[in-house]
């Protein structure tokens, strides 16, 4: 049996090699499909990994509370994610922050209130500059560092702001902008600190700190008539072992605040990375769907070429049957050939996908990730396509009547 299998592989190799051009073109469809899947998976794994690494590097004792009920339905997540959360009023407010602060073993709490509006210095900043109102605790929880000056301090007189290094360069033309005045939503703020460059536009705070302007929570509240619209609350526990208990407590007290409505989500560990990379998940989902279409097209290509091959080799099938090949032998021969085509295409696609991912990653701030899952997905996908689309031609070959097959002239 083992030898017979080796023979079939040998036969498949012979026949693929005998029509190299055709085989290569057939593989191309699978190559493109697998390449796009590989690229997407490698890059989205890279995006998730960067956030997970951030959380880990902060000690793993962070929990994050976000508005909105937890959403396990991935499809819904893809459809709703960007729009629903940006325009809906947040369900988190100052009362929640205060009650979390009261929980035992909570080391620090930092609310994040993200505002939109114009930020101007000497020159106009981008309209998309994030304005973040928060408390001094964020420095500690998110491991932010100040390269020049100091972090936010509510005790300081007047309106003060800390800005990202890239924003400083964009609106002042220098990263030495301490003491200068930045106009946020029409109100002047004195720059008291410049953040150290992080180069992580993808992070669990969903804020690119290099480009952001940070103001005090009280100032932020003024912009929206004294109310508070908190998009995220970061909680740091005294140590990792308290985190579980704290999360339970947070759930309990927030449920009380929200009159039993679970309109918030408490995340910890790797979960934090998921909503952040949600946009990547969405993108990946769409692209995988497109890749799947190209795989089906590639599979149909394989089926087509296998049918041609069966028709061409009708006489050979007749000869083989006359010489003692069973129907199973003929099925194996053609099935192995189509699987070999699709695995060959898949392998090429896997390599091409990584090449592509590395090219794309030069424009991004994260690198593609190598892991067994992606290789496994590429392998399984090509195996399934090859078997699925090779089955019909193989069955057709096996069903050929040896007598009429032998009568066909080639």
């Amino acid at each position: 049996m083992k030898i017979l299998f080796a023979n079939h592989i040998h036969i498949a190799r012979q026949s693929i090699a005998s029509s190299r051009m055709r085989s290569t073109l057939t593989m191309l469809g699978i190559t493109i499909g697998v390449a796009s899947i590989t690229t997407i998976l490698a890059l989205s794994a890279g995006a998730s990994k960067i956030v997970i690494d951030q959380v880990d590097s902060l000690g793993g004792n962070i929990a994050v509370i976000r508005p909105g009920a937890s959403n396990d339905d991935t499809l819904q997540g893809i459809v709703q994610l960007p729009i629903g959360q940006q325009y809906a009023a947040s369900s988190l407010n100052d009362v929640d922050v205060t009650s979390i602060e009261k929980i035992a073993h909570v080391k620090a709490v930092a609310p994040l209130m993200i505002l939109g509006g114009s930020v101007n210095g000497v020159s106009e900043g981008s309209a998309r500059t994030p304005i973040l109102a928060t408390t001094p605790n964020l420095e500690q929880i998110s491991g932010l560092e100040v390269s020049d000056g100091q972090f936010l301090d509510p005790d300081l007189m007047g309106s003060t702001a800390v800005i990202g290094p890239q924003l400083s360069i964009d609106i002042f033309g220098t990263d030495q902008s301490i003491g200068k005045t930045v106009t946020v939503k029409g109100k002047p703020f004195t720059v008291i600190g410049i953040l150290k460059r992080t180069n992580t536009p993808v992070n669990y705070n969903t804020i690119d700190f290099d480009n952001a302007v940070l103001i005090d929570m009280a100032e932020g509240r003024e912009f929206i008539q004294g109310a508070s619209q908190i998009q995220q609350i970061n909680v740091q526990s005294e140590s990792v072992e308290y985190l579980g208990g704290i999360i339970t407590e947070i759930n309990k007290s927030l449920l009380k605040n929200h009159f039993g409505q679970a309109d918030f989500t408490v995340l910890s560990g790797d979960e934090i990375a998921q909503p952040t990379s949600g946009i990547f998940t969405a993108l990946a989902g769409v692209s995988v769907a497109i890749a799947a279409i190209s795989l089906v097209v590639g599979g149909v290509g394989i089926m087509n070429i296998m049918l041609v091959s069966v028709a061409e080799r009708t006489r050979e099938i007749g000869i083989r049957k006359a010489l003692g090949a069973t129907n199973g032998d003929i099925i194996s021969q053609f099935l192995i050939e189509s699987v070999a085509l699709s695995i060959g295409g898949g392998l090429a696609g896997y390599l091409l996908g990584y090449a592509l991912a590395f090219v794309i990653s030069t424009f991004l701030t994260f690198d593609p990730v190598f892991n067994l899952e992606i290789a496994g997905v590429a392998l399984v996908v090509s195996l399934v396509i090859g078997t699925l689309f090779g089955l019909y031609p193989a069955l057709r070959a096996a069903r050929k009547d040896p007598i009429s097959a032998l009568r066909q002239y080639d």
Binding site: A322, G324, A325
Partner: protein, 263 residues
């Protein structure tokens, strides 16, 4: 030649093969009764369309949609699965075709080792055996030629080598010399008659009456039925039609049966 003590290799009883349905219904084989003993060399003759090739296909288990009875080695084939039939083709039957039927994209050696694949032999063992077989047909130097680089006679010898590589007991030859000139035909017939002497059962369909002299028994068919059969006739009474075929008769000694007939 025929040994009546051992059971016959092939027994056909009222064998019928029908083609078409309804008005177009037509029996290609219409009630054949035939018993073939081990070691016979049978030549089947008859006009085109008399059912010779159909009979050979049925005997070779390529066509099992038949009526009547076909016992191979004392067992009815009606109860054999397709897989068992394939195994019998692989191990007991060797085919030789008029159009050679070599796989054109495989070289001579691979063609000859083709039947061994389905016996589950390893590649090396296959090629060794095929090479040995080719050498006995004086084709040792042609191992790596492609079929289209050979002459018709060489191709047919390769095909015979392929038919024999599994040591089959029965050789079925469908007009093996139909595409060959008389010189090449003679060589092929010599090969077949050598096999016959080694104890193989050979059933050959031919159009050429000259070739029947190599056979131990001649059957003529007409309209799907057996017309004449020399089986029951004493050998001496057979009329030989063997001609020298323009070949120097140095191989004459190889055909003792026909020599006897000539006397």
């Amino acid at each position: 030649m025929s040994n009546t003590k051992t059971p016959p290799v092939i027994v056909l009883k009222q064998l019928k093969k029908r083609f078409g349905i309804g008005d177009a219904e037509h029996y290609a084989l219409d009630g054949i009764n035939l018993t073939i003993q081990k070691g016979e060399f049978i030549a089947i003759m008859g006009p085109s369309g008399c059912g010779k090739t159909t009979l050979l296909n049925v005997l070779g288990l390529l066509d099992s949609h038949i009526e009547g009875e076909y016992d191979l080695d004392g067992k009815s084939i009606a109860y054999l699965s397709a897989k068992r039939q394939a195994r019998i083709r692989s191990q007991q039957i060797g085919f030789v075709f008029q159009s050679f039927n070599l796989v054109s994209r495989l070289n001579v050696l691979d063609n000859v080792s083709l039947p061994l694949i389905y016996k589950g032999m390893s590649k090396l063992a296959r090629q060794k055996k095929a090479s040995k077989m080719l050498q006995s047909f004086h084709l040792g130097e042609r191992e790596f030629y492609m079929p289209n680089q050979l002459s018709g006679g060489q191709m047919q010898r390769v095909a015979i080598a392929r038919a024999l590589v599994n040591d089959p007991a029965i050789i079925l030859a469908d007009e093996p010399t139909g595409n060959l000139d008389s010189r090449a035909s003679h060589i092929i017939m010599q090969e077949l008659s050598d096999l016959h002497k080694h104890g193989n059962t050979i059933i050959m369909v031919t159009h050429n009456p000259d070739l029947t002299t190599y056979a131990s028994r001649v059957i003529t068919m007409l309209d799907g039925q057996i017309d004449t059969d020399t089986f029951r006739l004493p050998i001496a009474s057979r009329t030989s039609t063997k001609k020298p075929l323009n070949v120097t008769p140095k191989t004459k000694a190889k055909t003792p049966l026909n020599k006897k007939v000539k006397k």
